[in-house]
């Protein structure tokens, strides 16, 4: 019997190594898997490269992971979000590396990784600093920048409902990066507010099919309170 549901955070985090590339879902704190991030802090992996849209809010979740010194580098599109106190301090002190990536390029690079596409051309960033050093090619009279697939060792994602096969649903705009990150990592770990029996989820509404998910943890934390 396939059962991806694990019953402890230690089990969920087993095997995550120092130096891993960790994809973390969410847009601000909505859809950000804070319980898994706390589990990763507890597990102890360090020297991490984290990929997330923002660079943490306040002192919880991703911000806390950075605050306890586990993150060597962050790849994100928008660090200057509301209340990035922890990141800002580390960045100003030169204690964390930042790579800024256009948001759509970030999403598509991970989608490509999950979809078996090694690289693609995009019009985004042509003529800007973020295209420096990258191959530019013309198609039908317009210029495009070559971007490569971006893989994660681990993806930490947040879902609304899950079953034991790892099928996931999402809630409203908390879907965001979670489905593409689930596709792009070797090990995808999801936290879900609700665990339901196999067959209960409406197949028409499954946002991430279980094939992209390795482990599921039940985290019924209620409503997100911070954005």
């Amino acid at each position: 019997m396939i059962d991806k549901i694990v019953h402890s955070m230690a089990e969920a985090m087993a095997g995550i190594r120092d130096g891993s590339v960790v994809l973390i879902g969410g847009f601000g704190s909505i859809g950000q898997p804070n319980a898994l991030i706390d589990g990763l802090i507890e597990q102890g992996a360090k020297d991490l490269t984290v990929v997330a849209n923002n660079a943490g809010v306040g002192h919880t979740g991703l911000a806390r992971l950075m605050e306890v010194g586990r993150v060597r580098k962050i790849v994100c599109s928008y660090p200057r979000t509301s209340d990035p106190v922890v990141f800002e301090g580390l960045y100003r002190a030169g204690r964390i590396e930042l790579e800024v990536m256009p948001q759509g390029t970030m999403a598509e690079r991970m989608r490509a990784a999950g979809a078996g596409i090694p690289a693609f051309y995009t019009p985004t960033s042509v003529g800007t600093k973020l295209a420096e050093g990258k191959e530019v090619r013309e198609f039908a009279g317009r210029q495009y920048v070559l971007e490569e697939a971006f893989f994660g060792d681990v993806a930490l994602i947040e879902a609304w409902e899950a079953d034991r096969w790892g099928n996931l649903t999402y809630r409203s705009s908390a879907r965001n990066f979670n489905p593409v990150m689930a596709m792009a990592a070797k090990l995808t770990i999801a936290q879900a507010q609700h665990i339901v029996d196999l067959g209960v989820l409406d197949p028409e509404k499954i946002g991430t099919p279980g094939i992209f998910v390795n482990r599921v943890v039940h985290v019924p934390y209620g409503e997100p309170t911070v954005t």
């Binding site: 928008y78 759509g104 705009s173 409503e223 309170t225 954005t227």
Partner: protein, 224 residues
């Protein structure tokens, strides 16, 4: 610009507020348009689209058919906009993941995107993500939007806090995109970006063309 010119401009005219700028841009969006609104003043546009006009607003974080801010008792805590503020979904709205959201953006499906900016140049170049090599650069979805939407409008203050023009011959900050901007709404004027540079369509009440030119680094002309 001289200090006295700035003083003249501010004493004789009533600049538009951020809300006025957003409301003015919202009025100009045609029925049936698919529009992305970015952070800053643009995010206010969602509050000013006339209720009877079907304009479908897209938010980069995976919302198509975004509505205005909710009443406090009707907040959905999983539903935020690009500025991380609570919003609503209009009947007929849809959610999508980030890769699909940016396929909408990059794939040329949006009629318009409305962005904030630090600077716009007379050739349509604009800058809105980084002011120097030492600040905290934050690009978000701006570079994708700028190349993907059929039209780009910028909503911003006409000058910086220290009175420097944000409308320039050439941008001095790192570019977000080349030749992308079609129209600018500021607290002082509505200006088209044309092959012949900036063309003024409208000015704040009481402002003269001369006073507007005084606070604008690039040359202006009145639109036909």
């Amino acid at each position: 610009m001289s200090a006295s010119a700035a003083a003249d401009a501010s004493t004789t005219c009533k600049p538009w507020t951020r809300e006025d700028i957003a409301a003015r841009a919202a009025r100009d969006i045609p029925e049936g348009f698919y529009v992305n609104i970015g952070i800053g003043i643009p995010v206010l546009v969602a509050n000013y689209v006339p209720a009877e006009r079907e304009v479908i607003i897209h938010s980069e974080n995976g919302i198509l058919g975004m509505g205005p801010e909710p009443e406090p008792e009707a907040i959905n805590r999983w539903l935020i906009n690009a500025s991380k503020k609570y919003v609503t979904l209009r009947p007929g709205g849809a959610y999508m993941h980030h890769a699909d959201s940016f396929a909408i953006i990059r794939g040329g499906h949006l009629d318009l995107c409305v962005l904030g900016a630090f600077q716009v140049a007379e050739n349509g170049d604009f800058a809105n993500w980084s002011m120097s090599d030492t600040d905290m650069p934050s690009v978000g979805g701006a570079m994708d939007l700028a190349v993907g939407a059929k039209q780009v409008w910028v909503l911003m203050e006409h000058t910086t806090k220290t009175g420097e023009s944000r409308l320039l011959r050439r941008c001095t900050y790192p570019l977000t995109a080349v030749g992308a901007v079609k129209r600018i709404y500021t607290n002082l004027a509505v200006i088209d970006v044309t092959a012949d540079g900036f063309a003024v369509r409208d000015m704040a009440p009481g402002l003269t063309f001369e006073a507007l030119q005084d606070v604008t680094d690039a040359p202006l002309r009145m639109a036909n």
